[in-house]
């Protein structure tokens, strides 16, 4: 149990030689059309920068983002597996930048389980305690207790190759919890499991969290895992933090277009629209349809002294409704999802997804059908065209 502070953490992967630097620069010059994700400086490639985060004792923090955004690098810096190029890492009030991984009192669960193949489950779980010269009876007690919590007691004498993926991941978690670490780090622990097992293990992790009192840092690229597990979510992109907040906050109040597009399934619909200020009221106008923003949104826009301007309007598919009047669109695809239908419509050349609950459906939608959709003023997200930031924040 411990708080973790990351103050302006930075990670730069230096060039191995001058030639690499030249190659990188030449490559960038030759391929201007290719999007450069990470910042390339004279020092090297900057994988993480300006990363500041205060993690409270026993908090469950999830780092989420697309591949290459720096989430695993950040976790590995906390673990001590990567050197910290700049900034300060504090665990339980102590600066840990130069402390060896074994002395940080952390445990880590890896994506590929990282179990010693020649050891039994018991030996795998006992290994770190043995290295710390823990008395045998205490090791036995701790291993059996962890095995009981994770329901793997019957596998203690087996070797990892005789276990299924889910069982192996339980052992990996067990190996981490026997040490009762101050901070538990998990690097995409469920990525190797199939969808069903992943759901089960996700629930197991939630239960586990209630049983063991410790601080969690969890890395994933799966937003469902992030939303269901985290007390707070850190959304990253290209080495920068995009937003930190509770699952509800990042879903309801995305800080920018990236977060809005990344969180939520299906992804948020985006439109080129106009924000119109009329006195103390704000409207969004899309294809001739004018929707007034609600009081809370209006208050925030007023506070930021936002004026009329062209914007990117974001509306989630679940907040977009079929109606008699509204924005006209043609049906492209109708996907039956069980309790609802995901309707892909073409609105002025833009693909828009509308979630229609089965109960609200009067008839089937066919390719080419003309429909109209609308949305309410309290679910419209307005993003600046210039900065891609949410104008409310």
């Amino acid at each position: 149990m411990a708080s973790v502070q990351l103050n302006n953490i930075k990670k730069v992967y230096p060039y191995i030689s001058g030639e690499d630097k030249k190659k990188n620069k030449k490559k960038n010059a030759d391929e201007p059309e290719k999007k450069i994700n990470l910042q390339i400086t004279d020092e090297g490639v900057v994988a993480v920068q300006q990363f500041s985060l205060d993690i409270k004792d026993k908090e469950f923090i999830v780092l989420v983002g697309p591949s290459g955004c720096g989430k695993s690098t950040t976790l590995r810096m906390v673990a001590g597996l990567e050197e910290i190029s700049g900034g300060e890492l504090i665990i339980d009030g102590k600066v840990m930048n130069d402390v060896a991984p074994k002395d940080r009192d952390i445990a880590m669960v890896f994506q590929n389980y990282a179990l010693y193949p020649h050891m039994t489950v018991y030996e795998n779980m006992a290994f770190s305690l043995k290295l710390r010269h823990t008395p045998k009876d205490e090791i036995d007690k701790k291993v059996r207790e962890a095995a009981r919590i994770l329901d793997i007691t019957q596998y203690l004498e087996r070797k990892p190759k005789a276990l299924s993926g889910g069982q192996r991941q339980r052992v990996a978690i067990g190996r981490a919890i026997v040490r009762a670490p101050k901070v538990m780090l998990m690097d995409e622990p469920l990525s190797n499991l199939d969808a069903k097992l992943r759901n089960e293990m996700r629930a197991e992790i939630i239960k586990l969290r209630q049983r063991i009192d410790t601080t969690f840092m969890y890395v994933t690229h799966d937003q469902t895992e992030a939303m269901t597990l985290g007390d707070r979510i850190v959304i990253m992109r290209d080495g920068y933090i995009q937003q930190i907040g509770t699952p509800q906050e990042v879903f309801n109040h995305p800080a920018n277009l990236f977060v809005a597009g990344f969180i939520g399934m299906p992804v948020m619909n985006f439109f080129d629209a106009e924000l119109k200020r009329e006195g103390d009221k704000f409207f969004v106008e899309l294809s001739g349809v004018k929707v007034q923003l609600d009081e809370k949104k209006t208050a925030r826009l007023l506070k930021n002294n936002v004026q009329s301007q062209p914007i990117t309007l974001g509306v989630r598919p679940e907040h977009t409704h079929i109606s008699d009047k509204g924005v006209p669109a043609k049906v492209d695809v109708s996907e039956m999802m069980g309790s609802s239908v995901h309707l892909h419509v073409d609105a002025d050349g833009r693909d828009v997804i509308i979630i229609v609950p089965i109960l609200d459906m009067e008839d089937n939608y066919n390719y080419g059908d003309l429909v109209h959709f609308t949305f309410a003023g309290n679910v419209a997200h307005v993003f600046s065209k210039e900065t891609a930031k949410n104008l409310e924040y």
Binding site: A79, P101, A107, L131
Partner: protein, 314 residues
Amino acid sequence: MKKTTESAAAGSGGSSKMHNTLVYFRQHWQLYVIFMLPAFLLTIIFRYIPMGGIAIAFTEYNPIRGIFGSEWVGFEHFQRFLSSPDFMRYLVNTLKLSVFGLLWGFPAPILLAFLLNRILSAKTKQKIQLVLYMPNFISVIVLCGIVRILLAPTGMVNMMLGTSFNFMTMPSAFRTIYIASGIWQGAGWASIIYTAALSNASKELKEAAVIDGANIIQQIKAVEWPAIKDTVLIQFIMSVGNIMSVGFEKAYALQTDLNLNASEIISTYVYKKGLLDGDYGFSTAVGLFNTVINVILLVTMNSLVKKMNDGKGI
């Protein structure tokens, strides 16, 4: 009932796999022939047909009369060799050279591979590997020449020690010179196989060991050694199987009249008897004796290793 069904399913799975393999083989037999025929022919021509030459060991071989025209003497050559007063000296010299060579030389490439695996910079690693591999490409005779120059009374070693020993004339120094130069020449090259096996050691596993608190030795024990253990065992069995096959070239090239007591081994004796004295029957018998001991050692060591290693061996 469930178990029976499962095992039946497993059985049918196994037979269907076999069936698929046979179908694939029938469809692509030409590929197998092209792939295997050269190796098969080479083995027959250079490994099996010459076995007929073993018969020379039981004859008073005369090259003009041929194997079947020469006088059949049975085990006479074997009796002559085993009862010779020098037999024990040659056998002990051969065994000492190969056993000590194995004890010192076998772990060297493994240790080298562990060390190379610790080098983080790929470029530095490549450069070091290049330097380590180079001696392997020096011919044995050139190597022996270098050794003789370095160990000469006015050579670099004596200069560094401030002495003027003639190491090449000292029987007590022969084995050390032979084994040390062998390690210098071969350890780097032999480490390739272990370096390759070590690349299979999971990076995540190593990191897990670091977080678990393992020091370098414990990391090697828990992560790297299990990754190369099977390779090491196979190499060890093969090495033991070759324990009597000490090549004559190097021993002969490092031999002087004064170190003969330690440097005369079975293979140099075979060379001298067979090619220099023309006693082909006798030298073939000595060579065959050598081979039989090798085969016995190989089979014994393999069964010992299998017993100790969960049935894994050759």
